[in-house]
């Protein structure tokens, strides 16, 4: 299921872009994907890419070719958040790891046994055991640091512990029976352990110290190297966290009810290790709260979310966002759950912050009136695609796409004198699993025509409803033979030719009210059956009408390429 399908937009620094659409159009998913809360299947998110680089990227992508591909990759690696390092395991690595672990355990188990069996001398045993533990630790450390293990500061430590366990536990279990008496086991443990290692006891003791050291050391070196080569990913993620932020819709649920305001606002600082000094943290928290309009800050720091009103909670969310000093904020319906008289305050705050802190906003909303007053640019989404994009004035005052036009016409005004003619679309938006072919909007579009991608199934549905309504009698059976042909069998009593006469008549009469009929290109009788042939439509692309304003609709733009066959 494609929630978002080929969406492209750009936001310039300091701009406010509003993505509007109804529920299920994919706007929230887009917003979350920017913040990497949702994984992107395909596509790139470029951050702070200079104009020329981007244009270079576009031209090279359209030209193709292997060297161009390498160059586009380089640009992507530098600027895109979706660049994923290839961290999958391959067979060679898997075999190495397995081999390493196997060797480690054999050495951990076998070598001491061998030593104990062949050599009785305490010194030789100790040396062997020492060597065995060292080797074991080394192997575990190396094997555990290969991709796709995450690069983390804790990995060397954990591998060290694993090394000790491996070196100790299994021989212990193998050598003696598990102590039967639990309470008295603690006294015996040491005795059991020394009994296992016997004369090589001191060597083993030293080995316990060296094994984790070896494991940790090997791991650190390997991870360090990996960090240098793949580190861009980690650095980018950290950058992402600091400079992009998301404000959620629900002020009640987005704050942890068990955390005080102080803890909520200081969490981003603590987690990203931006400030360590308690005074510094306190100062930053106080500053953020004041910037978010919660003055004086001291009054709010020890309060809990349930003691605050909805507007105050949303301000706490904003303060927590500001603590990181981000550049870009995605706001997902930030005011839709607040009382109307408070909404403006929060919006004004956000616009003030835009001035004060040089923020750029991506607003996601279903409320077109809000987009009208807030946005510099608006992008209208429907079923996962952007259908129209442009400056706020253009999109709201002169909408080009039929969906946008209908949407704007039904938005109510608080002024009862402004009653516009409402284009209320019939039906509801289709499920995301059943996205219509061609233009996604065509089944509900009041002005759809033949290029919009009607499928034979849809036309057959329409003919069936005409038949049940009695307008088009004479159909005995009907089926969609292929995506652009409908085959009919007539009832006994009429001939295919006579039926075609009525058919042409009916179609001409009802073409404007039942848009699916517009897709009919021709009708023929053959072999006692009637075949209705359809126009082949295509999906409209976003075409730039004027600089900065794009629309995806066949009515507005001539098809960029010849219509191709519909996907089956």
């Amino acid at each position: 299921m494609r929630a978002v399908d080929g969406v492209s937009f750009d936001v310039k620094r300091g701009e406010v872009l509003c993505i509007v659409g109804e529920s299920g159009c994919g706007k929230t998913t887009t917003g979350k994907a920017l913040l990497r809360l949702v994984d992107t299947t395909e596509g790139d998110i470029f951050f702070e890419i200079p104009e020329e680089e981007y244009r270079r990227y576009e031209t090279m992508r359209s030209r193709g070719g292997p060297e161009r591909a390498a160059q586009t990759d380089a640009i992507r690696r530098k600027y895109s958040f979706s660049w994923k390092e290839q961290l999958a395991w391959d067979t060679r690595q898997i075999l190495t790891v397995l081999g390493a672990f196997a060797a480690a355990f054999i050495l951990g188990l076998g070598l001491p046994a061998l030593a104990a069996g062949l050599f009785r001398a305490a010194l030789v045993n100790s040396a062997f055991l020492l060597a065995a533990s060292l080797l074991c630790g080394l192997l575990i450390g190396m094997a555990g640091s290969l991709p796709p293990t995450r690069i983390s500061a804790r990995t060397p430590g954990m591998l060290g512990l694993l090394a000790i366990l491996a070196v100790n536990l299994f021989p212990l279990l193998a050598a003696k029976e598990f102590p039967t008496s639990l309470p008295t086991a603690s006294a015996d443990l040491f005795g059991v352990w020394s009994a296992v290692w016997g004369p090589g006891f001191f060597g083993m003791l030293a080995g316990i110290v060296l094994a984790p050291a070896a494991a940790g050391g090997a791991s650190k070196i390997l991870l360090g190297r990996r960090r240098e080569t793949e580190g861009l990913q980690a650095i980018k993620m950290r950058t992402l966290r600091r400079r992009l932020h998301l404000i959620f819709q629900d002020p009640y649920e987005s704050l942890n009810p068990k955390q005080s305001v102080f803890e909520i606002v200081s969490e981003p600082l603590v987690v990203n290790r931006i400030a360590h000094d308690p005074e510094e943290i306190a100062a930053l928290v106080g500053q953020s709260l004041e910037d978010a309009g919660l003055r004086p800050a001291e009054e709010f720091v020890l309060r809990f979310p349930h003691e605050l009103s909805g507007g105050q909670r949303q301000r706490v969310s904003i303060a927590a966002a500001l603590a990181l000093q981000p550049d870009f904020i995605v706001a997902d319906e930030p005011v839709s759950m607040l009382d109307v008289s408070i909404r403006t305050e929060i919006l004004q705050l956000m616009m003030e912050l835009r001035e004060k802190r040089g923020l750029t906003y991506l607003f996601i909303t279903h409320d077109l009136s809000l987009a009208w007053i807030l946005a510099d640019r608006i992008a209208v989404m429907y079923l996962g695609k952007i259908v129209e994009q442009g400056t706020a004035e253009e999109v709201i005052s002169h909408p080009k796409h039929p969906y946008t036009q209908a949407l704007i016409s039904v938005v109510p005004s608080p002024d009862p004198r402004h009653l516009a003619k409402r284009t209320i679309l019939k039906g509801e938006r289709p499920d995301a699993v059943n996205i219509p072919g061609g233009c996604r909007f065509h089944p509900r579009c009041p002005v759809a025509f033949e290029n919009c991608g009607w499928s034979a199934d849809e036309v057959a549905e329409e003919l069936k409803s005409l038949s049940t309504a009695g307008v088009l009698p004479g159909i005995a059976q009907m089926e969609a033979q292929n995506p652009w042909t409908v085959a009919l069998a007539v009832v006994p009593g009429t001939t295919p030719e006579a039926f075609i006469e009525t058919f042409r008549h009916v179609v001409k009469e009802h073409r404007d009210s039942r848009r699916a009929l517009k897709a009919i290109a021709g009708v023929r009788a053959r072999g006692g059956y009637v075949y209705v042939k359809l126009h082949q439509g295509s999906e409209p692309r976003l075409v730039e009408l004027e600089p900065g304003n794009t629309v995806a609709c066949h009515l507005v733009t001539a098809p960029a390429e010849a219509p191709h066959a519909l996907p089956a």
Partner: protein, 331 residues
């Protein structure tokens, strides 16, 4: 006059104290009229609606006032009587009800339930009526045996409307009927309600915080705040020439897609606590026109221009509220 509410006072007893949810609210409704009850969260509009059908929760009670429905005071009628009136004369579409449909029964059964309970009809007859109702609200009657989860939000709201109309009531109360829906579905449902109102000669009380919705559907509108009625008048009048400062602020707070591209106004401060409401006029802490009298005395709802009532001392005709006497407390 179909409905006359006078000086209704409703309280809730909670752990934190007594909540004065509705404090002296009065309004009228004519036959075939659509009244919009507007206000923000916590202003008492839902409580008023529930009280009209005596459906307050266990810790709420009607302290005083009267609800005259066709001349009969609903506050004083017996429990048996009110059960007969519920659904048959007045029905309600609850807030968020589309999510409260019973998931294990099909919608046909759920719509038929009130029919069977109120009128002694056989199941076949009831199901026939259900089919008619479904057609009326624009659902294919063959979907009668489908379950709620097979419908979308908008369709479920239509089911709720069908349920509310099951026993041919005279008055339908719709509590936030379109709040959770997309703007296109919202338009569909509002259009449906309009059509039904005209076809069936219904009277309607539409409760919403969204003034824009009210502007399109209601003839008369009543603005509530802090449990009190602030202003009543025709929609056009109230929106274009609001008399009460709160109404002015509220109307100005809604962005207008057909207006200029300016940031709407806001009303500073927060909604008042209903446990410890402010003395005097409940709006005075946030009102920019407040003066001395507003802090000590409470303005009563009175007519300031023909057809318009407001509760604000800015208008000399408005008297102060006198203490009310307690009447029979009912739920």
């Amino acid at each position: 006059m179909l409905l006359e509410v006078k000086d209704l006072v409703i309280e809730y007893t909670t752990q934190s104290g007594t909540v004065h949810a509705v404090d002296g609210v009065s309004f009228n409704l004519d036959e075939g009229e659509a009244l919009g009850l507007a206000g923000e969260s916590g202003c008492g509009k839902t409580t008023t609606a529930l009280a009209l059908m005596r459906l307050l929760p266990y810790n709420g009670r009607i302290v005083s006032g009267s609800i005259l429905f066709r001349g009969r005071d609903l506050v004083k009628v017996s429990d048996t009587r009110i059960r007969k009136i519920r659904w048959k004369d007045i029905s309600i579409i609850f807030q968020g009800a589309m999510n409260s449909l019973n998931p294990v029964r099909n919608i046909g059964q759920q719509i038929a339930e009130p029919i069977v309970l109120h009128e002694a009809v056989e199941e076949q007859e009831a199901m026939r009526r259900v089919g008619e109702l479904l057609e009326l609200v624009g659902i294919n009657r063959e979907r009668m045996r489908d379950y709620p989860h097979e419908f979308s939000g908008g369709m479920r709201q239509r089911v709720m409307i069908a349920m509310a109309l099951a026993c041919n009531p005279k008055l339908v109360i719709a509590d936030e009927p379109v709040t959770a829906l997309d703007v296109m579905i919202q338009a569909q449902i509002l259009e449906l309600l309009e059509r039904l109102r005209k076809e069936l000669h219904l009277s309607m009380i539409l409760i919403s915080h969204d003034l824009s919705v009210m502007a399109e559907t209601c003839e008369k509108v009543a603005i509530m705040y802090g449990g009190k009625m602030m202003e009543i008048g025709t929609t056009v009048d109230v929106f274009t020439d609001a008399k009460h400062p709160y109404t002015q602020g509220l109307v100005a707070a809604f962005p207008d897609i057909r207006g200029p591209r300016t940031m709407p106004a806001s009303i500073p401060g927060d909604v008042p606590s209903l446990i410890n409401p402010p003395t005097g006029c409940v709006f005075h802490p946030r009102c920019k026109f407040a003066f001395d009298r507003c802090t000590t005395a409470e303005p009563a709802l009175a007519e300031v221009t023909p057809g318009r009532q407001a509760a604000c001392f800015l208008y000399p005709e408005v008297p102060e509220v006198v203490l009310r006497t307690e009447t029979v407390a009912a739920r």
